[in-house]
Amino acid sequence: MRVEYINPFVEAAFSVLKEVLRIEIKRGELYLKSVSQPVLGVTAIVGLAGDVEGRVLFDMGEATAIKIASAMNGELMKKFDDLAKATITELANMITAQAVTKLHELGFEFDLTPPAIFTGDNMEVTDTGIEALIVPIEMEFGKIEINVAIREKN
């Protein structure tokens, strides 16, 4: 993945999470992955189009997702219901949109697709012919893995 794309995503994730959750957030070591990998249970996906093609996944466990949704809505949620799903989807949208705005300032044209959310056990994601950048984020609610795979259109 082009190095210019990395920082906008890391920064956007960091600042959006910090702003909406108002808790301490730590970034883990970035790394690359190309094989299929398990996803944690709740996964929001935002597609990217324009100069490039790709997608961003926000992957977290259900407990983490509920805690995040509770914090964002200002009320204690017990189930991962429609409102919680909509909240996580919105979070994915906010982070990706901010990253794309930053990229736009650098001169890259990216478009977003509407986000979607997947929930379930024992899921895995496979990308063929494209490697993904993993941005692990740790906080008291649990961990979120942001998985960015973007390739240049040739």
């Binding site: 993945m1 082009r2 190095v3 210019e4 190309s34 012919g129 490697e131 950048l133 240049e152 040739n154």
Partner: protein
């Protein structure tokens, strides 16, 4: 003509007998036992699909020496491997009309047949009674052994089928040691008068060999540097130099830690590693291109580090081919280094004269000199691990200096295959100064103090 029969039924009954004998023991591992050169072996029953007898295998040319041929097993063509030959045991010729005993194994997705001397029976075991392998037990390379077990009054060596047949690496190692043995036989099989000399020479050679093997192992451990045919010549050349250097300093010849390994490898790195290419390197690179008549250069530069190499390539091409279309994809798996690459700047003293006079470098605001945007636009810097696939277009040039030596044999082969796949026909591959490729499909060309390889795919 051939005949097959499956004697699974008889085996099942023997199995239950064996089970009854060891009633008290917990049975959680079953093995099919067989003999090979009068020794008893076992294989985990889970990888044995069936057993059969057959002869008349269809010989296939250009296969490894241990492949007897292929065989049609109820419509499925399977390779047949001769186990005696594979482990360099003395071969016995089958009498006319005698059928070979074959274990049909299922390893991962593939099915293969293995010829053994005699198939005995199935024995159930308590897996905790399996002893770890011991190097003195057998002729077979230790790492292919799962363990040793004593049952009844017999010792069985349990083989690890996945290790032997599962990955190409295992087979490749066996193939290599086979070739070495052949070579040894040829050299030691000389005239009787030369024998004495040869023996003395051999002892000497053994000594060198041991140092070499030790260095080879420790380079892999401490520096993830894998010695094989691509770089062996350099290591052999480096060894005497290293020895005299270490002896002069009264230090151990062997590599004891990563620092030693780095010191040993210091001269391995190609000219101008980590800095802008000088005139000599430029002339060498351009001399390799003289045979390529192109007006478009798509270049891939894996392992570019902080980008000096990629910038050099882009600038040299731009000056030499002002009208050509040029694009350089540069990548590294070191995130910090590659992140610094797009805005890299150099001190005036580190910039070769031809580069500063090219007009492609300008003084940066924060001090130092940077390439101008018109040149920067020719480059893409990517955070990328070359073991993962990527979406590169068809390339004209790959500059991968001192990369492949840091991958083991299997990954190296995969990388070279990937290079060949991404490079257009007649495209140029530039490896490190001390690396060579012997694989088929690459034609070596000599330039000024530099060699390159042309992709010979059609």
């Amino acid at each position: 003509m051939s005949s097959i029969y499956s004697d699974y039924d008889t085996m099942e009954s023997e199995e239950s007998e064996a089970e009854r004998e060891e009633k008290q023991a917990k049975i959680d591992f079953k093995m099919v036992t067989f003999s090979l050169a009068d020794r008893a072996y076992g294989l985990d029953i889970m990888c044995v699909k069936e057993i059969s007898k057959a002869d008349r295998f269809t010989m296939v040319p250009n296969t490894p020496f241990y492949v007897e041929g292929v065989y049609n097993l109820r419509g499925e063509i399977i390779p047949i491997i001769n186990m005696r030959r594979m482990f360099h045991l003395e071969e016995v010729e089958r009498k006319k009309g005698e059928l070979a005993n074959i274990l049909i194994l299922r390893i991962e997705e593939s099915i293969i047949g293995v010829i053994v001397d005699r198939i005995e029976n199935v024995i159930g075991l308590d897996s905790s009674t399996i002893q770890p392998r011991h190097p003195l037990f057998t002729d077979i390379n230790m790492k292919y052994i799962h363990g040793i077990v004593e049952t009844g009054d017999k010792l069985y060596v349990i083989l690890d089928a996945d290790r032997i047949f599962g990955d190409e690496q295992g087979l490749a190692e066996i193939r290599q040691s086979g070739q070495q043995e052949h070579a040894d036989k040829e050299t030691t099989g000389g005239k009787a008068t030369e024998k004495k000399e040869a023996a003395v020479g051999k002892k000497k050679a053994d000594n060198i060999d041991q140092d070499f093997l030790f260095i080879k192992d420790t380079l892999a451990t401490f520096a993830q540097f894998y010695v094989d045919e691509t770089n062996q010549a350099w290591v052999e050349h480096r060894l005497p130099e290293w020895k005299s250097m270490r002896k002069a300093g009264k230090e151990n010849v062997q590599l004891m830690n990563p620092e030693d390994a780095l010191l040993f490898l210091k001269p391995f790195y190609s000219a101008c590693t980590g800095r802008l290419w000088d005139e000599a390197q430029r002339d060498g690179f351009l001399s390799l291109l003289s045979s390529m008549k192109r007006n478009s250069f798509k270049v891939w530069n894996p392992g570019t580090g902080k980008g000096s190499e990629a910038f050099s390539i882009a600038a040299i091409l731009r000056v030499a081919y002002p009208d050509a279309r040029i694009k350089v994809w540069a990548c590294d798996m070191d995130l910090l280094a590659i992140s610094a690459a797009p805005s890299m700047s150099w001190n005036k003293a580190d910039i070769p004269q031809y580069m500063s006079s090219s007009g492609f470098m300008a003084e940066a605001t924060g001090g130092g000199y940077q390439f101008v945007p018109a040149l920067k636009d020719l480059l893409y810097f990517e955070y990328h691990d070359v073991r993962h696939g990527s979406a590169l277009p068809d390339l004209d040039i790959i500059v991968a200096r001192d990369i492949i030596s840091f991958y083991d044999a299997a990954e190296k082969a995969r990388l070279l295959e990937y290079f060949s796949d991404r490079l257009s026909a007649g495209g140029l591959l530039v490896l490190g100064d001390n690396e060579t490729v012997h694989a088929r499909g690459w034609r070596r060309i000599e330039g000024k103090k530099i060699a390159g390889y042309l992709n010979e795919k059609s």
